[in-house]
């Protein structure tokens, strides 16, 4: 079958991004190293173009390539979010790469390739399409994690991510093959029919569900499949860590939710209980282990695990049978809102960690933050806002994200789940506030006192401004984003 123009038009953003990525890889060798920034601006331009195209998808639904790809408001929402995240990552990297002396411009190409993978994931209507997207995203990320190739930690991070990542992909693929066995197809709609007719006590269905959950659980770093997260996050260059923690998590959640709801919507009890266990374990372990971390990047890694746990509440609610309609219960839309908000908070926090690096400080140990408020008021204040937001204290967006999630949980008759999550959110305040305490309530050492040159470059300032604007504006006026998410989930069948 030859793809028609309609099909190609549907995946225009993906084509643009892949094209831009290839162009970047070609242009890289012929660009003098003093002008590598040009490549970054080019990728930003590609993102802006895609943004325009995808905005148009926010209100229609198209199936392309004989139902392999779906373009619907749900996918469009995630793509828009991913563009913003990628754009902020690229802007931030322009400064960070120079500081770290990483002069490989394939960097931007890989960001775009990995973004293309994520975009394919979120608009996959077929398990194989989704799998292809996951692989494209993951392989690019494996390479990017090792970009500080002269540092053992970075190499270790890359290798660990690669080995565990391939393993989980294998499990995912096994699940897909089982599903092919029972339905004779990899399309989500066909799988849904086969699964519904077999019922959830069929062992084949159970195994397939379990394998899929393990595979995706790894990608979103849900406990107990989270082991890779702290090491990989710590070792990878900070800009890459931020990208992984935010973009790949958002894309994986998007695909995860679509597979569960569209493919397994008929057998909710088979997976809701499993997700519930994962959810509670993830929230508990992420928050408790984060308390003992002294490395800020590791702490943020565990915090990202914990936040994945909160987001899983959205899936649990969407899978609650009592509430019938997954859309009305608000599980899906609150998850989308939460991940969007989480992106801004986490990107902001990682950007501050990266900026400290610029001061000649390592910026990764908690001690490096000592007395930051005396040395650089602005950076300390921003970090405080991000920490407070991650802890979920109003009037920041972190609160609004949790509010909608917990509201969905209470609506689904799971007030107890909201209570558990909230108790751990209160515990999390301890380690987030420790950063604030170190910055504001400890005196900097004599050596640190001289390190006032944490100058923001224009590009990092833009990143921080976007992040703080997201955290504050979404906290005070979440209304518009809420209506976007609620209308986006209407496209679910």
């Amino acid at each position: 079958m030859t793809p028609s123009l309609v099909d190609l038009g549907a995946i225009l953003p993906e084509l643009l991004i892949v094209g831009a990525a290839c162009l970047l890889l070609v242009l890289d060798p012929i660009t003098p190293s003093s002008k590598k920034d040009l490549l970054a601006w080019m990728s930003l331009g590609a993102l802006a173009l895609c943004f325009m195209v995808t905005i148009g998808d926010l209100n229609h639904r198209v199936l392309a390539f004989s139902d392999l790809v779906i373009i619907d408001p749900y996918a469009a929402f995630w793509k828009l979010l991913l563009y913003v995240i990628s754009g902020m990552t690229i802007l931030f990297s322009m400064t960070y790469l120079k500081e770290e002396r990483i002069e490989l411009a394939e960097y931007y190409g890989f960001i775009l390739l990995s973004l293309a993978g994520m975009m394919i994931m979120v608009s996959g209507a077929d398990l194989l399409t989704i799998y292809l997207g996951i692989e494209l995203m993951s392989i690019s990320l494996y390479i990017m994690a090792g970009f500080k190739r002269f540092e053992a930690k970075s190499i270790e991070s890359s290798a660990k991510y690669f080995i565990l990542g391939s393993f989980s992909s294998g499990i995912l693929l096994y699940g897909i093959s089982l599903l092919y066995g029972i339905s004779g197809s990899t399309k989500l709609t066909d799988i849904a029919q086969a699964v519904t007719s077999r019922g959830f006590d069929d062992p084949m269905v159970l195994f397939a569900t379990m394998f899929l959950i393990v595979g995706f659980g790894f990608k979103v770093s849900a406990v107990p499949f989270h082991m890779w997260t702290p090491d990989v996050y710590q070792g990878a260059p900070t800009s890459v860590t931020a990208f992984m923690a935010v973009a790949s998590k958002a894309a994986s959640f998007a695909a995860f939710l679509r597979v569960l709801l569209e493919g397994f919507g008929g057998v909710k009890p088979s997976w809701q209980g499993l997700i519930l266990v994962l959810c509670i374990a993830t929230i508990a372990l992420g928050n408790i282990v984060a308390i003992v971390q002294t490395n800020v990047k590791r702490m943020l890694a565990y915090s990202s695990i914990a936040h994945a746990g909160y987001a899983l509440i959205g899936i649990v609610v969407a899978g609650s049978v009592a509430n019938g309609d997954p859309i009305a219960s608000g599980g899906v839309s609150s998850l989308m809102l939460y991940l969007a908000i989480y992106s801004f908070m986490t990107l902001g926090a990682f950007a501050i960690v990266g900026i400290l690096r610029r001061g000649g400080l390592e910026g990764e140990e908690l001690d490096d933050f000592t007395g930051l408020s005396k040395r650089h008021k602005g950076a300390a204040f921003l970090m405080m806002i991000f920490m407070v937001a991650l802890a979920g204290i109003p009037p920041t967006a972190g609160f609004m994200g949790k509010f909608y999630l917990f509201m969905a949980a209470v609506n689904a008759g799971m007030a107890w789940l909201a209570i558990i999550a909230l108790i751990f959110a209160a515990i999390s305040a301890f380690y987030y506030l420790r950063v604030v305490m170190v910055m504001y309530m400890r005196e900097p050492s004599a050596a640190q006192e001289n390190e006032t040159r944490l100058a923001f470059t224009p590009t990092t300032s833009v990143v921080l401004a976007c992040a703080i604007a997201g955290v504050i504006i979404l906290g005070v006026f979440p209304g518009p984003l809420v209506s976007v998410t609620t209308s986006a989930v209407m496209s679910f069948p």
């Binding site: 407070v388 204290i393 509010f403 917990f406 209470v410 007030a415 209160a426």
Partner: protein
């Protein structure tokens, strides 16, 4: 519902009060480092002036909300930016706006580092507390309620005493953990009370008694930590002792009131059956707090700790009055909230002033102040006696009303609570005897300089308020009557309805008394 929302007649006074301090924050950011104090004082005084119309234009005749503003904030779920005040919240708003300029004055020379940040934290606190007392939407209330944690955490943690980091995180985690269940309760109320966060609508809705019981404890967790009720009070002495003077004043005078205000605004009107059911438990905890707090105060050698424990005792009177659930008790409780704000704030101010001179809060280091500091000693004695509840001064009115209200509910509880007043006399007089009339320690005596003009000026308005409320409380009581009567009548109605069905014997004994009491028997200064 019809009589409940009276529009403000146009001008958004309450929004002005909430926004002005934030504008002040902006001005401080732009101001030079040296001018932060003046700017902050200017804005907080402006807020106080802007809050006076609330008193002047307040309509005592109605129980409805006044100065109401209502705008859509978020459409789904329906969350409104809804503000309004009634006779319960109005005095607390004024208390907040009145005390904030004093807090800035008291920190004038005491705070030398990071003055800008300090003043910003104070003003953000002011916005958040006014917001808490004015909110008519439960989510808006919660947002303000939690927002207040951060500036308070910074106030204690940055400008506090040696053990400040521990005290700050303890304060933060205690109150945050308390609010956890509050948020869930808000969400449950939303779904059970007709898909609304409107506080007035939620107060009108009916909830099943078993659900009420659960919700009652959820709200209790949040409010009891703030008050703080025994046994959730352990954060208070730490926070008070370590906080800078202004922080202690805000904490004691305004922040603790948020807990008792929560009981009055939410627990009582929304959960009348559960309140009735758990009244004995609440009364017991209150009496324990009164006596335990007083006993602990007797044993303290640190002035701030002494006042902190006296706070526990005095706030016990407030909860006692609230859960007596009759007109006298509740009016007494609100009076006591205001009085405790004034008196304890004044006492902390005095401790701050002496601490600036001697850098010690120990009673032994600050003994015998009457000779070197006669003006200071005069004020200190006035405030201390007000704290004891001497007739003619403010606290007497509140405590007396609370005791009358309690007496109706249980003679035993009232008797035990009166013990608290006797103990208060004991610890305060014992403290006065040493601090004012003791022999000054040799090394300190040179540092004991009497009040300067600024300090004198801070004391005078407090003294005026103490005697005004003490001698002529009628204007303040008039403000509360309508709102409190409605609260009590609603409870009486609920109880009358209950009597139709099979109910335990002891409830029938209480209810007739309740309905009698909603028409005031004791007319004090009315």
């Amino acid at each position: 519902m019809t009589d409940m929302a009276i529009p403000s007649g146009g001008f958004p006074w309450l929004t002005l009060l909430i926004v002005l301090p934030i504008v002040g924050v902006g001005a401080i950011l732009l101001a030079k480092e040296g001018a932060a104090r003046q700017v902050a004082l200017g804005f907080s005084s402006l807020v106080f002036v802007a809050s006076l119309p609330l008193w002047v234009f307040f309509d005592n005749a109605t129980a409805g909300m006044q100065f109401v503003e209502r705008h859509h904030w978020i459409n789904s779920p329906p969350i409104n930016y809804a503000l309004g005040i009634d006779g319960i919240s109005m005095p607390l708003v004024l208390l907040t706006t009145f005390l904030t300029p004093l807090c800035i004055l008291v920190s004038w020379t005491a705070i030398e580092t990071r003055v800008k940040e300090f003043m910003i934290s104070l003003l953000v606190m002011e916005t958040a507390t006014i917001g808490v007392f004015c909110s008519l939407d439960f989510v808006l209330f919660y947002v303000f309620w939690e927002t207040m944690l951060i500036p308070m955490y910074l106030l204690i943690g940055i400008w506090g005493g040696p053990n400040r980091v521990y005290a700050a995180i303890k304060f933060f985690l205690y109150t945050l953990a308390g609010s956890v269940l509050l948020l869930v309760a808000i969400l449950v109320l939303f779904f059970q009370g007709g898909n609304t966060f409107d506080i007035l609508a939620l107060s009108q809705a009916e909830y099943a008694p078993s659900l009420q019981a659960l919700l009652f404890w959820a709200l209790f967790a949040a409010f009891a930590v703030k008050v703080p009720m025994f046994p959730f009070h352990t954060w208070l002495p730490d926070a008070h002792v370590e906080a800078p003077t202004a922080g202690s004043i805000i904490l004691a005078s305004v922040l603790l009131k948020m807990g008792t205000y929560g009981f009055l605004r939410f627990s009582l009107p929304m959960l009348p059956d559960a309140t009735e059911l758990f009244t004995p438990a609440m009364m017991t905890l209150s009496v324990i707090a009164i006596i335990y707090g007083a006993y602990m105060a007797l044993a303290q050698s640190d002035l701030k700790k002494l006042i902190a424990y006296s706070s526990v005792s005095h706030m016990g009177f407030v909860t006692l009055g609230i859960f007596a659930f009759n007109a006298q008790g509740i009016e007494g409780a609100i009076m006591q909230m205001v009085n405790h704000g004034i008196t304890t704030g004044a006492l902390f101010m005095c401790v701050g002033i002496i601490y600036e001179r001697t850098h010690s809060r120990q009673i032994d280091d600050n003994a015998g102040l009457a000779m070197p500091m006669p003006k200071y000693a005069t004020f200190f004695v006035i405030f201390a006696l007000s704290s004891v509840g001497l007739p003619g001064m403010n606290s007497f009115v509140g405590e007396f009303l609370v005791l009358i209200g309690t007496f109706v509910w249980s003679k035993l509880a009232a008797t035990l609570a009166s013990l608290g007043i006797i103990l208060a006399a004991a610890y305060i007089l014992y403290m006065l005897q040493r601090v004012i009339y003791g022999t000054p320690s040799e090394k300190m005596v040179t540092k004991l300089v009497d009040l300067n003009v600024r300090e004198f000026g801070m004391m005078v308005p407090l003294v005026i308020l103490i005697f005004w409320i003490g001698l002529y409380p009628k204007p303040l009581l008039d403000v509360m009557h309508a709102s409190v009567d409605r609260l009590v009548q609603r409870q009486a109605q609920v109880m009358t309805v209950d009597q139709v069905g099979p109910i335990p014997q002891d409830l029938t004994l209480i209810s007739p008394q309740r309905s009698v009491l909603s028409t005031p028997v004791v007319s004090m200064n009315r």
